[in-house]
């Protein structure tokens, strides 16, 4: 069975639905407090996928994801190593990492995304939305057809909720911009219902550059995204389910957020 590790604690709060998503996909799910990694109760390398769920780690204080990423980078574990060193090995072993919302913010602060230079130095940032407020609304995300991450295989367009105040992706400089584009590291972009990418508010809810909703790294093993596919595991989560049901147009599993989790499990099983 594929083993999926979900980290929680310190204000992370989307671990349950993420667990449900992996369980539906047929994985064995372990949800643990991050300290159980630090104190050696669990070993990262016993797992196939590492997940950073959404939430408010450390209340988004200082900057979203900042304090948690700091822990990953600097805090010495029982073993004397830092967790980022373990993550480095985990990636080199060909394993997978998913970060959603606050998890994406953590991955970006850690320099794990997009990680063009393989040096874990931040190259993009997720900052306050142009609206300067937290918003919960459903958007459409278009999957970049050239992106090579297995998480998004066969997904073209995904309706999905965003729930954040700091999700505007900004890029360090033009060189980084070019490399992100050239390497097809843009995974998901905000779009209209037809899949046309747009920077018009509120379809693009935060004003992100290139309407970026999610990024992957050059290996495709890491995916980070602001929207919450784990909040769309059932047709009945969709805001228009009642009308679609009357019309006999129930949304199929492969067109819900569940598809991302199904994909990665299928990919690893193969």
């Amino acid at each position: 069975m594929i083993k999926s590790l979900i980290l929680t604690g310190f204000g992370i709060n989307c671990e349950t639905e993420m667990g449900a998503a992996y369980k539906n996909a047929g994985a064995e799910v372990t949800i643990i407090h991050f300290n159980e990694i630090l104190n050696g109760t669990y070993n990262l390398h016993d797992f196939d996928i590492l997940n950073f769920p959404g939430g408010f780690s450390f209340g988004d204080d200082i900057a979203s994801g900042k304090v948690m990423s700091n822990k990953v980078k600097y805090k010495k574990m029982q073993s004397g190593k830092t967790f980022i060193e373990e993550i480095d090995k985990f990636i080199k072993d060909g394993k997978y990492i998913l970060g959603i919302c606050n998890g994406f913010q953590i991955l970006v602060q850690l320099g794990l995304l997009p990680n063009l230079k393989n040096d874990y130095e931040p190259e993009v940032a997720l900052v306050a939305n142009n609206s300067n407020k937290y918003e919960d609304r459903w958007v459409y995300c278009k999957v970049n057809s050239k992106v090579k991450t297995p998480f998004l295989k066969n997904i073209d367009l995904l309706p999905v909720p965003v729930r954040h105040g700091e999700g505007k992706l900004v890029i360090k400089d033009d060189t980084t911009r070019k490399q992100i584009l050239d390497n097809n590291l843009i995974a998901l972009q905000y779009s209209d219902k037809q899949g046309n990418i747009t920077d018009e508010y509120p379809k693009n809810p935060n004003g992100a550059e290139f309407s970026i909703a999610g990024l992957t790294d050059p290996t495709g093993q890491i995916l980070g995204l602001m929207p919450h596919p784990e909040a769309f595991l059932s047709f009945y989560n969709h805001p228009n389910w009642a009308k679609l049901k009357q019309e006999g147009k129930e949304i199929k599993r492969e067109n819900t957020g569940q598809a991302i989790f199904d994909n990665i499990i299928k990919h690893i099983e193969r």
Binding site: N13, F56, N130, E135, Q246
Partner: protein
């Protein structure tokens, strides 16, 4: 001390600065020019220069967007004014705490987070040169509250902004003295003592305490433990807490002499609570048991009511008011309201319930309020924004979806807002074989305080006035909640309870340890607490202050001695501070010690049952009201659009979107749904688990406006509104068959003005109390009729704002917050129209009831014909709705409420791509105004597929009044006797409705 300042590089947008700039312009008409925001961290910790720089660069600065300055403050000639906002001493500085944790991780060093080493300050650089008055106005309006914040405003002088960072270190002398108090004094002096110490105890209550201390047996017992016959300061404070209105509900338990002035009928009510609230639930429990329905598990005698949700899960539900704190500090009041009610759920029964959702009902003065503000009165807009932000952070940062809510505006809420916060949770029905809803405690079980530390926050709750706050002493008027601290606490309790490490628990809210330990001690009949063991935020608290402090994010947990070690180990792993502060006994006494010396020794029976019963008077007087002359309408579309944009009807979208209503992935019917995600819904619906089709519906009923005509009908109407919202989404009434697990659980929350008669201060107190009695009578009549039980609730009795000789009293208000189970997600219904050609009906009858309607309000009229609840008729309607829904005949259902039938129709179209063509001929022999705008209860707008017409009409008969069809024309067309009276484009309606609050 070192300082680190971060600020955004000029090439990146300072969105926060832009937002403040816009608000200054729009709301204060102040042109600020550009505003630059910045954060300053003062580091009061030994650190090398090298590490300081690395810490700043790596841990505080956003590497892409920020610049950082070390031991320098930012300067730029462009800016001519400055505002700096810090916390006052002792106020939680969450960002400082997080920065300190980051420092500990960075240095790989243990740094006690309970000693504050990093202090933060927000600095706003403002382009234009503004006066100190203007700067202070901006600061108080948007940036801080002088009750909790230290605010500096600086205008450029001699080409320089003279700013020096402020560090709110608490500097206090240690004072462990216990004062002895002599109660053998005159009545006048007793009253004065109560007032001076802000005890809020009446003369009768002070006398009862005095008599207790004169009892020879008491004197003898006290001598044995080394106490004199004088009482100690902590004893007096504990009496004040335990006997407070908040804890003992003295007015709801008072003896009321009630007189109906019209009929001359007199009666004596011995406790509103026992007679009507508990009285109704007792009867309902019998009705349920007689019908083999066993879901009502625990009511009233715990922090929250408990019902059985599934075979092995319980549902725990509580709604509370947090009005006074929200009037003083809207953000802090609301967030502690939400986090406080969360803890009620966490501490019900054994404890450790998972928090499933939040709900809230908010009553404010109008945001465009233009009367002169009284001293200490905050502008309603300010209160609204602060409260909404508090609810946002309280829910979002805890990962609890806010699934349902309501906002009501009325001038009379401009003094004191009403803030009702609710939380539902799910608890296993047993932990390792122990019934989770029970609260067992045995002698020698340990008393553990868990979570945050104790400071001076909230001593005497909100009664402390701001003038008593000294600059260097921690402020105590309000508390600030820390959702992240509480999330850690809640995560811990869920794990610890499942492992069987928690035997019982309760929360520390009003009265702090004095009430949590005081109440738990009743179970074994005694407890010993060693106050010096209680961890403090800073030294300098007197023993009594430690015991009654209302510092937030704390639970009191009962742990069996043999589990202590495992319990402490788990807490350490989850980074939660837990402290063993005492144990339970059966001595009969609440025995409180400080450094070994007994300083509080009161008989628990007297402490809990010794308060004398209050006596109150109520007089019901009838009002002389009349209906206005027939209001002639020239243009009905104009009325429609005016109503859609009116304060109590318009869209709440900009509030709703600030609340996370999706987290946990269980939300099914959210506040806004449909094609465009903007159609307003009735009750919120959530699934109980990811792997089950069982859901619950959550609703709130509130309609204070009807109380201006008839308080009984107001209360009955609010009850009906909450019920019909649940019926609208596909709910079913309880106890309609045997062995049915469709539970209903209700919280009643009263918020009324001072109803204690006083010839000078409150001359109309008797009439106000009569209204409260009527509200309770309606509660009893409605709940026993439907077998829908109250399971918990709260009463907030003094909702008046007094200043400058003016009193602003809230209208008597009751909120019924209901949750009910719906067996199958697939049976739930939303309110928006679904397809062109669907048939539209009004279900339920309209009466000539325009009294207190939104329509009359447009014309400044009140009227006399208040909507009446006809419960037999209503029940028949609801049973038919259930029957129709069981056969899947209903495509959409929306309850008719504020604004009447026309507004309900418009709401069914908003957010869709449809329109409706409707005729009013079938609505009976009524004026067109009544047909369109009367707010008669127990009605719905329902749409069905044409093929279901026959089956549908057979069920409802004359109860279904055909209105017309859903069209694809994007407009609402209304015909009266075949003449078009309204033809309104959907875009116009949506524009009118989408008012930015």
């Amino acid at each position: 001390m070192n300082s680190i300042q971060t600020h955004i590089k000029p090439e990146y947008k300072d969105t926060k600065g832009i937002s403040i700039q816009n608000k200054c312009k729009e709301q204060l008409q102040i042109e600020t020019g550009e505003i630059k925001t910045s954060k300053l961290y003062t580091v009061d910790y030994e650190i090398t220069d090298d590490n300081l720089i690395k810490f700043a660069e790596n841990c505080l600065k956003n590497k892409i967007t920020d610049e950082v300055l070390i031991n320098k403050v930012y300067e730029n000639i462009k800016y001519n004014s400055l505002i700096a906002v810090a916390q006052l001493p002792g106020v939680t500085d969450d960002i400082g705490v997080s920065a300190q944790m980051a420092l500990a991780d960075f240095l790989n060093r243990e740094i006690d987070i309970n000693v504050q080493h990093i202090f933060t300050q927000d600095i706003f650089y403002i382009e234009n040169k503004l006066s100190e008055n203007e700067l202070m106005l901006i600061a108080k309006s948007f940036l801080g509250n002088p009750l909790i914040n230290h605010i500096q405003v600086i205008t450029k002088e001699n080409k320089k902004l003279n700013f020096t960072p402020y560090v709110p270190k608490v500097e206090m002398q240690v004072d462990e003295t216990v004062e002895l108090i002599n109660l053998d004094i005159s009545d006048d002096e007793l009253i004065k003592l109560s007032e001076n110490k802000i005890l809020a105890l009446s003369l009768e209550e002070m006398k009862a305490i005095r008599n207790y201390f004169k009892d020879e047996k008491v004197i003898a017992e006290r001598k044995k433990v080394g106490l004199s016959e004088k009482l100690t300061d902590i004893e007096l404070e504990v009496f004040a807490q335990t006997w407070s209105e908040h804890c003992k509900h003295k007015e709801f338990n008072a003896e009321i002499i009630y007189e109906d002035k019209e009929t001359g009928e007199k009666k004596i009510i011995n406790s509103l609570f026992k007679t009507y609230i508990k009285g109704s639930t007792d009867i309902i429990q019998k009705h349920l048991k007689n019908n083999d329905n066993h879901w009502l598990i625990k009511v009233f005698d715990d922090n929250a009511g408990t019902v059985r949700a599934t075979k092995n899960k319980l549902f725990v539900w509580k709604v509370e008011t947090h009005n006074s704190p929200s009037a003083l500090d809207p953000y802090g009041g609301a967030i502690t309201g939400i986090l406080g009610v969360n803890r009620d759920i966490m501490g019900t029964g054994i404890g450790g319930a998972e928090l499933l959702f939040n709900t809230n009902v908010l009553c404010f003065g109008p945001p465009n309020y233009d009367k002169k503000l009284l001293k200490g009165q905050l502008h309603p807009r300010r209160i609204m924004e602060g409260v909404v932000n508090g609810i946002e952070d309280g829910g979002n940062k805890s990962g609890i979806p806010t699934v349902n809510g309501s906002v009501v505006f009325d001038d009379r809420f401009a003094g004191k807002p009403l803030v009702f916060c609710g939380t539902g949770g799910i608890m296993p029905d047993n932990y390792l074989g122990r019934n989770a809803w029970e609260k067992p405690i045995d002698i020698n079980d340990r008393i553990i305080m868990a979570g945050g530390r104790v400071g001076k926050d909230g001593i005497h709750g909100a009664t402390f006035s701001s003038t008593e706050i000294n600059e260097k002493s921690p402020q105590s008027a309000v508390q600030i909640g820390s959702p992240i601290t509480q999330k850690k606490l809640s995560d811990f309790m869920i794990v610890a309870a499942k492992k069987g490490l928690i035997k019982s628990s309760t929360d520390n809210g009003a009265g702090g340890l004095s009430s949590s330990v005081g109440e738990l001690a009743e179970i074994t009949n005694g407890a010993v607490v060693n106050l010096e063991k209680v961890p403090l935020k800073y030294s300098g608290l007197k023993p009594w202050e430690i015991f009654v402090s209302e510092s937030q994010e704390r639970m009191t947990i009962v742990v069996e001695p043999q589990n202590i070690d495992v319990f402490f180990e788990l807490a350490e792993n989850m980074e939660l501070e837990v402290t063993d502060i005492g144990y339970f006994t059966n001595s009969g006494y609440l025995d409180i010690r400080f450094k070994g010396k007994i300083i509080h020794y009161i008989d628990l029976d007297f402490l809990h049952n010794g308060v004398p019963q209050k006596k109150m008077q109520a007089e019901l007087k009838s009002l002389q009201l009349s209906e206005p002359e027939n209001i002639k309408i020239e243009d009905y579309e104009d009325v429609l659009l005016k109503l859609l944009s009116s304060q109590n009807i318009s869209s709440r979208e900009n509030i709703i979107r600030k609340y996370d209503h999706e987290v946990k992935g269980k939300s099914i019917i959210k506040p806004l749904m449909g094609e465009k995600g903007t159609s307003p819904q009735d009750a919120g619906v959530m699934r109980l688990a990811h792997d089950s089709f069982e859901v619950i519906a959550v609703s709130n009923g509130i309609m204070p406006k009807f109380g201006d005509i008839d308080a009984y009908e107001m209360s009955a109407g609010a009850f009906d509104e909450a019920v019909r919202q649940i019926i609208a989404v596909g709910g079913t009434l309880p106890n309609t068959k045997k062995n049915d697990d469709t539970f209903w659980t209700v919280n009643d929350n009263f918020s009324v003005p001072d109803s204690l008669y006083h010839p000078e201060n409150n001359p109309d107190g008797k009439e106000k109390l009569a209204k409260l009695v009527q509200m309770c009578e309606a509660l009893y009549d409605m709940s026993t009729f439907y077998d829908i039980p109250m399971t918990s609730g709260k009463d907030s009795m003094k909702n008046d704002f007094k200043a400058e000789g003016v009193k602003i009293s809230v209208p008597p208000t009751i909120v019924y917050s209901m949750v009910s189970k719906i067996k199958d997600i697939r049976n739930t219904i939303t309110s928006d129209f679904k397809a062109e050609g669907d048939l539209i009906y009004q279900i339920g009858k309209t009466y000539d009831e325009l009294g207190a309607s939104e329509f009359y309000k447009l014309y400044g009229e009140l009227g006399a014909n208040v909507p009446k609840v006809r419960k037999e008729e209503a029940k028949d309607t609801y049973l038919k709705m259930m029957q129709a829904n069981e056969q899947n005949l209903i495509a959409s259902a929306h309850d008719i409420s504020d604004g009447g039938m026309l507004i309900a129709l418009a709401e069914c179209i908003i957010g869709t791509k449809f329109g409706a063509k409707v005729m009013t001929n079938n609505l009976g022999n009524l004026s067109i105004n009544a047909k369109l705008f009367a707010e008669s209860h127990s009605r719905f707008i329902v749409s069905i597929k044409p093929k279901n017409k026959e089956k549908f009409e057979n069920i409802f008969k004359e109860k279904a009044q055909y209105l017309g069809k859903v069209t694809n024309k994007n407009k609402l067309e209304i015909f009266e006797n075949e003449v078009v009276i309204i033809e309104s484009d959907l875009a116009n309606m949506e524009n009118a409705w989408n008012v930015e609050l």
